[in-house]
């Protein structure tokens, strides 16, 4: 295990070394990269194949079975949207709070956000049945001037997700421009031409920086409430209904904390192998992982509290339907899923109280996988177990996922990984200019500014 550097807050490198090390991550890849990309594309093709079958034969192929008519696709939708939240938290919220540890890791997490939201956005479309009419969700002047029901949380979601995708993509691209220009200036031949095109004529002039720094600040300021609102809106997809187990007033903060928890889990899963593959271990250090683990601990503890409160509210409400739902979550037919969620999220995260675990990358990686699994199951439990037993025991029923559910789930991981892998070799995954901003420039005379 590497020892944490003396002053971890400030990168121990010169400006030239930062450019060199980050630009070196671009370009020619090794065999391992192509194998990973190949596996990702293969998984994506499985998803495409499954989706083609869904288009041909309809949603009957998936495991929907009344009363459970929201199942794996909506679970996976919420899972991916949640993943996206850590990226914007780290890139925008921690930027406003001037948190120095975000700088080295934020680009990779912001890219993760964009690709996760791109993945999530596909799921409501897959789930609606007649996928070719997805545009009916949007308010457009159709033949009879029928408009969407703006009181429906599902339409809130359409606006929240599309705004989130647009704004996080914008934020990522704006941050990338000066770094692409830095890469352009190091490249030769056709690569130089490609990076010149994407650098949009960036030269780093005083006029450009003057407007850029302000614009970036305002984008962060807009993205900050957005990230909190998006998962609140997603939680209202459930909380606005009257299904026991969904109708909770704590849902918005509970879902936001869960989203950030799952997102940081995914950040850890991605960054630990990524920094080794790209040879940037000296840039993303134990210091960053320690902080990411603390964030996991914080959000995991909020989840712990929220889980406890859900049970408390169910008991204290005196409502037999609510009580039955929560009893069945722990001891009903889906007890295994309920306990997977509680153990992976509430209990496993508590291991991060120990500094030794926070700075042990193997432990971090293993725990991050538990976080991912736990958070997928959290949504599965909330959605499926609540729907399977609502008010009328006569109508209760279980669902079993089918190959069409697993095929789309696997395809979503392939689609996400494919984009991330392509990004990691094409664009700087560490923010060059922001790291340089933290490194003091050499001076002719002694003494600071």
């Amino acid at each position: 295990m590497a020892v944490i550097a003396h002053d971890p807050q400030h990168p121990n490198q010169t400006h030239a070394e930062v450019t060199r090390d980050v630009v070196n991550t671009l370009g020619t890849a090794d065999r391992g990269y192509f194998i990973a990309l190949g596996v990702a594309v293969l998984c994506f093709l499985v998803g495409i194949g499954t989706f083609t079958m869904l288009l041909k034969d309809g949603l009957g192929l998936a495991g929907y079975s009344p009363p459970v008519m929201w199942a794996v696709y909506i679970t996976t939708f919420v899972f991916w949207i949640g993943i996206g939240h850590a990226g914007t938290l780290i890139s925008a919220i921690l930027f406003l709070f001037r948190s120095p540890w975000r700088t080295a890791v934020y680009r990779a997490t912001e890219a993760m956000t964009v690709f996760a939201v791109m993945t999530a956005g596909l799921f409501p479309i897959i789930h609606i049945g007649r996928q070719w009419f997805f545009y009916w969700l949007l308010p457009y002047p159709n033949a009879r001037f029928l408009w969407p029901n703006f009181k429906s949380p599902l339409i809130w979601d359409v606006f929240a997700i599309s705004t989130y995708l647009t704004v996080s993509t914008t934020f990522l691209c704006v941050g990338l421009v000066p770094d692409i220009a830095a890469a352009r200036d190091k490249m030769r031949g056709w690569r130089h031409k490609v990076y010149s095109f994407f650098s949009l004529g960036w030269k780093g002039t005083d006029n450009q920086w003057r407007h850029y720094t302000r614009a970036y600040l305002y984008l962060a300021a807009l993205a900050t409430p957005l990230v909190l609102s998006v998962h609140s809106v997603v939680s209202w997809d459930f909380a606005m209904s009257i299904i026991p187990g969904w109708h909770g007033t704590i849902f918005a903060p509970y879902f936001v904390a869960g989203a950030i928890y799952s997102g940081v889990g995914m950040v850890l899963t991605i960054l630990i192998p990524l920094r080794k593959a790209l040879k940037i271990e000296h840039m993303i250090t134990d210091y960053h992982f320690d902080n990411l683990a603390k964030l996991t601990l914080l959000t995991g503890s909020i989840l712990f509290y929220a889980y406890a409160m859900e049970y408390f509210i169910a008991w204290y409400s005196g409502n037999p339907f609510e009580q039955e739902t929560f009893w069945r979550r722990a001891f009903g037919p889906m007890w295994w899923a309920g306990w997977t969620m509680i153990i992976c999220n509430a209990f496993v995260s508590q291991l991060f109280w120990f500094r030794k675990i926070r700075t042990n990358l193997t432990a971090l990686f293993v725990i991050s996988i538990f976080v991912n699994i736990g958070m997928w199951f959290e949504r599965y439990v909330i959605i499926v177990s609540s729907l399977s037993n609502d008010y009328d025991p006569y109508a209760w029923g279980q669902m079993t996922p089918t190959w069409a559910d697993w095929g789309i789930l696997l395809g979503s991981f392939g689609w996400f990984s494919m984009w991330f892998l392509l990004f990691a070799r094409t664009f700087p995954v560490v923010a060059i200019q922001e790291l340089k901003e933290m490194i003091p420039m050499p001076r002719l005379r002694k003494g600071g500014h």
Binding site: L146, F159, V167, R210, A215, Y218, V233, E437, M441, L444
Partner: protein, 169 residues
């Protein structure tokens, strides 16, 4: 390719030297020079006397437009085809706040980026001498000048501590 602008390009390794050069140039009444750097720097901004960017107006106006668009869209569309849901009012504020907020963020962000692009275009960069090291670890100052003024500027930047001075075109 744009026609190169004649002038002096000074390359600096040290931040304090670059700031000295900027201050001396400004003391000589020079204002139309361009400073290149790999990252924004407060010392450079101070030496240049940078004022707040008007990009914030784009954010403000975009955000307000988005919010009003959210009000207009939801109220007009609800009233245009009244849809009674659960006995609730046809057009009502609480559920529509979501649209007002989302459109405020969406249009606010897009207009901020538009502002960034438009304002960056207000000062030309094409044809000005540039060196790839400016996106790496050097600071550059390009002063458009020719003839005797050129040699005067060359003297100022050399005195300040430029590591290299070039005459462009």
């Amino acid at each position: 390719m744009a026609k190169p602008v004649p002038g002096v390009l000074a390359i600096f390794e040290h931040i304090d030297a670059a700031c000295d050069a900027i201050k001396s140039l400004r003391a000589q009444g020079k204002r139309n020079f361009t400073v290149y750097s790999a990252a924004p720097n407060h010392e450079l901004e101070e030496a240049l006397g940078v004022t707040n960017s008007p990009v914030r107006l784009f954010t403000l106006i975009g955000g307000m437009t988005g919010c009003l668009a959210g009000v207009g869209m939801t109220f007009w569309m609800s009233l245009d085809w009244p849809l009674l849901v659960g006995g609730k009012p046809i057009a009502t504020v609480p559920p529509y706040v979501v649209f007002m907020f989302e459109l405020m963020v969406l249009i606010g962000a897009l207009s901020t980026v538009t502002g960034l692009v438009l304002l960056s275009l207000t000062k030309r960069t094409t044809g000005l001498a540039y060196d790839p090291s400016f996106s790496d670890d050097r600071i550059g100052i390009f002063v458009p000048a020719g003839g005797e003024t050129g040699s005067e500027i060359e003297r100022i930047v050399r005195d300040a501590g430029a590591v290299e001075v070039r005459n462009a075109a």
